[in-house]
Symmetry: C2
Subunit: 185 residues, 2 copies
């Protein structure tokens, strides 16, 4: 980094602390010495899982997303508990949301979802060797989901229809398309 781009914190005002997110406004000193404010949403971070069944289907969940007032079809995902290893979260969320346990849970990548205003970091895993678990752990009591198992082509169609319409699930589809392209060489 050649330029100094750092924004120094002059003051932090805590606005809200909720069940999932908190919100603060930082007063910052800009690189040119002027001041500005930054609105920052703090989030515990999350995992998302690309889960492939023995029949080579992708496991997706449809759920209502209140910010958009509509359902979206997404790869299974969930928030990190405080101090929890993301791998443990991934195994737990896959079981809770889909009833599957897996033989292999492989870390693929991570990314910040909205770096301009939020610190949410999502860790993406690939789950294979899936087995339906008897007496699987169940969803949180305020979670309601519909499970789908689809081919990659069906997933592409869901994206065209904007039923799949979120960053982690678009990542998953591109990941599977790149895998298919590599295998067809």
């Amino acid at each position: 980094m050649m330029k100094n781009l750092e924004e120094k914190t002059i003051a932090t005002t805590q606005i809200f602390s909720g069940r999932i997110v908190s919100l603060q406004v930082d007063k910052v000193e800009l690189p040119d010495g002027k001041t500005s404010t930054r609105e920052i949403v703090k989030h515990p971070g999350a995992v998302a899982i690309i889960a492939i069944t023995p029949e080579n289907k992708i496991v997706l969940v449809e759920q209502y997303r209140k910010p958009m007032e509509r359902t979206l079809v997404e790869i299974p995902a969930g928030k990190l508990e405080k101090g929890e290893d993301p791998l443990i979260t991934a195994v737990r969320e896959l079981e809770e949301e889909t009833g599957y346990e897996c033989e292999k849970m492989e870390y693929l990548t991570g990314f910040y979802t909205s770096p301009g205003f939020a610190d949410e970091l999502i860790h993406v895993y690939l789950a294979t060797g899936l087995n339906k678990k008897e007496n699987a752990a169940s969803l949180d009591e305020d979670e309601f989901v519909e499970i789908l198992e689809v081919t990659r082509e069906e997933m592409e169609q869901l994206m065209k229809e904007q039923k799949i319409y979120d960053a982690k699930t678009v990542y998953a589809l591109q990941y599977l398309q790149l895998e298919a392209a590599a295998q067809s060489k």
Copy 2:
């Protein structure tokens, strides 16, 4: 959709209304009749631009991201002004952040970044036919960025080093990898 997954709003409490985001907490009725709360960040939406120079380099910007207290290397992006056509925003943000105008700005896709707690929708464009513009519009006065022009391989290296580490830029890299795979067939 087979199950009813809708969450009806019982009450909305406005917590904060800022320059960029606002925050509200909705009390909702769940599909089973019980109640819960949803913390919702409202955001005006954004555009991001995969900009390719005549030398086939990708234009990236490094900037300080206060939520993470570090810089990230990202594709150029910016918030929608109220009621603005995203295409207009994309042309403006490309010029302001990089000094480039373009002959072609093609819509690629859109996605919600964090559908669990935010309504931010990002529209991604492909800009080609780039020309450095004389007297280009400049950045907002609280924006400081460093411009990079890199090859796809250099972009892959930046992602390995987690300097590239956000959803829209990971999307861009996968888009370019899929394009390369299609051309090598």
